[in-house]
C-alpha cells in the first residue's frame, strides 16, 4: 500500500468503529452525531478517484466525508461538542460540517435537499467551464424524495456533470428499504439516467466506479451510483438499532462484509504490510483520535457575541459593507427606550443581549 495521503486516511476511519462518539447535546432523534461507521469507509475510495476541485455534498452523516476532504480530527470533535475550534465554530453542529476550500459543501439536515443543491453545484461547474464534477450523496431513505427526481430531470435536460450517489444501507432510520420503496433498485430509478450498482463495502470497487462516473458525467451528463453498504449502529444516539432488525443480521455483515477487514486481508495477502505494522498504524490513529478529543474538550465554547455574527455575509446596505450582524445590531438602528417610563423588563444580567443583540 502506498503511503499517499489518501490511503493514510483509510485507517483513520477505523477509529470510528467503536464506540460511537457521543454528542453532548440533547438526545433527540435527529441527533445523528454518531453512527458514522463502516458504511463510511467508501468516501475514502471515492476520494482516491477524484480531486479536491470536484465537489461533494451530502446529508447529515458528514463526519468522514469532511475528514476525507482534508478536515482535521480536532475540527470534527470540537464541532460535535459545540466548541469554537469546530469546523463551523460550534454554530453548525454534527449535521453542518463544511469545507468550502476543498469543495465540500456540507452537511445538510433536510433529507433529500442536498440532491438539488448538488445538481446546482454541477450546474455552476459547467457554467464556469471547470471540467469538474459533483458527487451528491444521499441515502436509500432520501431516494424517494420528489425533489431528487426534479433535479435529476433538469440535470439530464441540461447535461450537468452530476453524479448522484445513493448510499444504500437498507434502512431509512428505522424503516427497511422494502417498506419504503416499491422499487429498491435505486440505481435503476433514474429511468432515462444510467445507473451502476457498486459494492460499497469494497473501497477499491468504489474507487473504480467513481472514476468511471466522473468520466461519464463530464461527457454525457448525470449518472447514478448505488453503493451497497450497511449501518451497524442505530440512526442516532436515541436509536438502539435493534428494534427493526436482528442482531444476527448486524453481526453477520460485520463478519462477512466489513470494509476495513477486507482491506486488511488484501494488504496482508499481498504482503504490503505485516500484521504488526497494521496494528501499529491502528494504535497510532487511536492515539491521534484520543488526543484530538482531549484537545477538543479544552477548546472553549464560542463567545456569547458569536450568537449574532454570520447571520448575513454583509451588513444591511450596499453602502455599509461591514460584517453582518442581526438587524438592529447597531446602536443607531434601535432607539433608546425612554427611560422616564422605567425599564421594568430588562433583566439585570450583563449578558442579556435581547432578541437583536443590542439591548
Amino acid at each position: 500500500m502506498s503511503s499517499s495521503p489518501s490511503s493514510a486516511r483509510w485507517p483513520s476511519c477505523a477509529g470510528w468503529r467503536s464506540p460511537p462518539i457521543p454528542s453532548t447535546r440533547r438526545n433527540s432523534s435527529v441527533d445523528s452525531a454518531t453512527c458514522t461507521t463502516a458504511r463510511k469507509l467508501w468516501p475514502i475510495g471515492m476520494e482516491a478517484a477524484i480531486t479536491k476541485k470536484d465537489c461533494i455534498i451530502t446529508a447529515y452523516r458528514d463526519h468522514c466525508t469532511f475528514l476525507g476532504r482534508g478536515g482535521t480530527l480536532l475540527q470534527v470533535f470540537s464541532e460535535l461538542m459545540g466548541r469554537k475550534d469546530g469546523c463551523s465554530k460550534g454554530k453548525g453542529g454534527s449535521m453542518h460540517f463544511y469545507k468550502k476550500d476543498a469543495n465540500f459543501y456540507g452537511g445538510h439536515g433536510i433529507v433529500g435537499a442536498q440532491v438539488p443543491l448538488g445538481c446546482g453545484l454541477a450546474f455552476a461547474q459547467k457554467y464556469s467551464k471547470d471540467e469538474t464534477v459533483t458527487f451528491a450523496l444521499y441515502g436509500d431513505g432520501a431516494a424517494n424524495q420528489g425533489q431528487l427526481f426534479e433535479a435529476l430531470n433538469i440535470s439530464a435536460l441540461w447535461d450537468l456533470p452530476a453524479i448522484l450517489v445513493c448510499e444504500n444501507n437498507h434502512y431509512g432510520m428505522g424503516t427497511a428499504e422494502w417498506r419504503a420503496a416499491k422499487s429498491p433498485s435505486y440505481y435503476k430509478r433514474g429511468d432515462y439516467v444510467p445507473g451502476l450498482k457498486v459494492d460499497g463495502m469494497d473501497a477499491l470497487a468504489v474507487k473504480q466506479a467513481c472514476k468511471f462516473a466522473k468520466e461519464h458525467a463530464l461527457k454525457n451528463g448525470p449518472i447514478i451510483l448505488e453503493m451497497d453498504t450497511y449501518r451497524y449502529h442505530g440512526h442516532s444516539m436515541s436509536d438502539p438499532g435493534s428494534t427493526y432488525r436482528t442482531r444476527d443480521e448486524i453481526s453477520g455483515v460485520r463478519q462477512e462484509r466489513d470494509p476495513i477487514e477486507r482491506v486488511r486481508k488484501l494488504i496482508l495477502s499481498h504482503d504490503l504490510a505485516t500484521e504488526k505494522e497494521l496494528k501499529d498504524i491502528e494504535k497510532e490513529i487511536r492515539k491521534e483520535v484520543d488526543e484530538a478529543i482531549a484537545q477538543a474538550k479544552e477548546s472553549p465554547m464560542p463567545d456569547p457575541s458569536e450568537l449574532f455574527t454570520n447571520v448575513y455575509a454583509k451588513g444591511y446596505g450596499a453602502e455599509k459593507g461591514e460584517e453582518g450582524g442581526a438587524p438592529g445590531g447597531e446602536k443607531g438602528q434601535r432607539l433608546q427606550m425612554n427611560l422616564c417610563h422605567g425599564d421594568i423588563t430588562a433583566p439585570d444580567c450583563k449578558e442579556w443581549l435581547g432578541p437583536w443583540g443590542n439591548h
Partner: protein, 369 residues
C-alpha cells in the same frame, strides 16, 4: 448626440464599451421627468446587472423563450443566450435547490417564481438551504441569490394565487426581504439585491408592473443602487404616520391626499425593505407625528403591521397619542367574487378611516366622565 455625450459622463466617465440595455430607458434627456413602467425598470435592472457581472444568470418558468410570464425578462434570452437565461420545468423544489447550489459555488442566480405562491414548493431551500447557510457554516458559505416574482393579491385569481409572503420570509434571520413600490424602487432595489452577497427575497406586485412612474436621471444610471434596510418618506406630514409597502404605498398616498383636504397631514413611509426593517425611520416619524397606522395587503395575524406596531410600542411608547392601528387584508382565504375580493384587501377609504380614528383619539379621558 448631446444626450449620448451626457450618457457617457453620467456612466462614470470611462469610455467602456457597454452593451446597451435592450429596453433602453436612456432616450433623450429633457427637463421633464422621464416616465418608466415598473416592468421596464425591472427589465433594465436585470439587463444591466447581467451585463456587468457574468456570474449573474436568470432561471425560472417561461423566463426565456416566452419572454417572461409578465414580460419582465423580455429580450434577455436573445441578448445573453440560453446558458444565462434558463427556462425551467414546472418543478420549483428542484430548480430552486439547483439555484441555491449554484450560489454555493459562487455564481449569482436570480430565481424567478411565477408568483410567490409557488415558492412554497421551494420554501425549504429558501429557508434551510439559503437563509441559514452562512450562519451554520460560521461564514464559509454565503449564498448570493435573489428570489423574485410577484407577491400578494392580483385581481380575480382566487385564494391559492393571492397570498402575501412578506411576513413569512421577513421573520427568518439570514434573509433580506425587499418590496419595491415604484420604478425607481424597482431598479435600485433589484440592483442592490443582485449585488448583495446574501439571499434576498424580492417581492414584486403584478398589478404594479404596468404602472408608470417618473424616474430621475440618477435612477437611470447603470450604477444606481438603493440601500437595503432604508425606508423612504414618500410624503412628509406631521399628524399621523402611515407605513406601507408595494401597492399599498400608492393607496396610502391617495389616502393622504384625501386626509389633507380634511386638515390631517399624513406622513407616508414606503418601507422598501421589510427585512431589515427600518425601525429608526419609522420610530423617528412616529416621535414626530405621535400616531401610527400600518397598512399591508397580507393577513393580519403575525403580519408586518404587527411587527411595526410592536417596534413602535417598544421604542416610542411615550410618544404615542393614540393606540397604534394596523390595516391589513381580511383574515380569510382570498375570495373570487369581485365584491368580496374588494372587501378582502385594504382600500383607500379604509386607510383614511384608520388615520382619522388615530387622530380623533386624542380627546382627554376627563371629558368622557
Amino acid at each position: 448626440m448631446w444626450g449620448i455625450l451626457r450618457q457617457k459622463v453620467v456612466a462614470g466617465g470611462s469610455p467602456l464599451v457597454r452593451i446597451r440595455p435592450v429596453v433602453s430607458a436612456l432616450r433623450s434627456y429633457s427637463s421633464a421627468a422621464k416616465e418608466m413602467m415598473v416592468r421596464d425598470a425591472l427589465n433594465s435592472a436585470l439587463d444591466e446587472e447581467m451585463s456587468a457581472d457574468p456570474k449573474v444568470f436568470l432561471m425560472g418558468e417561461e423566463v426565456g423563450e416566452y419572454q417572461g410570464a409578465y414580460k419582465i425578462s423580455k429580450g434577455l434570452l436573445d441578448k445573453y443566450g440560453p446558458e444565462r437565461v434558463l427556462d425551467t420545468p414546472i418543478t420549483e423544489a428542484g430548480f430552486t435547490g439547483i439555484g441555491v447550489g449554484a450560489a454555493y459555488y459562487g455564481l449569482k442566480p436570480v430565481v424567478e417564481f411565477m408568483t410567490f405562491n409557488f415558492s412554497m414548493q421551494a420554501i425549504d431551500h429558501i429557508i434551510n438551504s439559503a437563509a441559514k447557510s452562512n450562519y451554520m457554516s460560521a461564514g464559509q458559505m454565503p449564498v448570493p441569490i435573489v428570489f423574485r416574482g410577484p407577491n400578494g393579491a392580483a385581481a380575480g385569481v382566487g385564494a391559492q394565487h393571492s397570498h402575501c409572503y412578506a411576513a413569512w420570509y421577513a421573520s427568518c434571520p439570514g434573509l433580506k426581504v425587499l418590496a419595491p413600490y415604484n420604478s425607481e424602487d424597482a431598479r435600485g432595489l433589484l440592483k442592490a439585491a443582485i449585488r448583495d452577497p446574501d439571499p434576498v427575497v424580492f417581492l414584486e406586485n403584478e398589478l404594479l408592473y404596468g404602472e408608470s412612474f417618473p424616474v430621475s436621471a440618477e435612477a437611470l444610471d447603470s450604477s444606481f443602487c438603493l440601500p437595503i434596510g432604508k425606508a423612504k418618506i414618500e410624503r412628509e406630514g406631521k399628524d399621523v404616520t402611515i407605513t406601507a409597502f408595494s401597492k399599498m404605498v400608492g393607496f396610502s398616498l391617495k389616502a393622504a391626499d384625501i386626509l389633507a383636504k380634511e386638515g390631517i397631514s399624513a406622513e407616508v413611509i414606503n418601507l422598501r425593505s421589510i427585512r431589515p426593517l427600518d425601525r429608526a425611520t419609522i420610530n423617528a416619524s412616529v416621535r414626530k407625528t405621535n400616531r401610527l397606522v400600518t397598512v399591508e395587503e397580507g393577513f393580519p395575524q403575525h403580519g408586518i403591521g404587527a411587527e411595526i406596531c410592536t417596534s413602535v410600542i417598544e421604542d416610542s411608547f411615550g410618544y404615542l397619542d393614540a393606540p397604534v392601528e394596523r390595516i391589513s387584508g381580511a383574515d380569510v382565504p382570498m375570495p373570487y367574487a369581485a365584491n368580496l375580493e374588494r372587501m378582502a384587501v385594504p382600500q383607500v377609504e379604509d386607510i383614511v378611516r384608520a388615520a382619522k380614528r388615530a387622530c380623533y383619539r386624542a380627546r382627554p379621558m376627563a371629558a368622557v366622565a
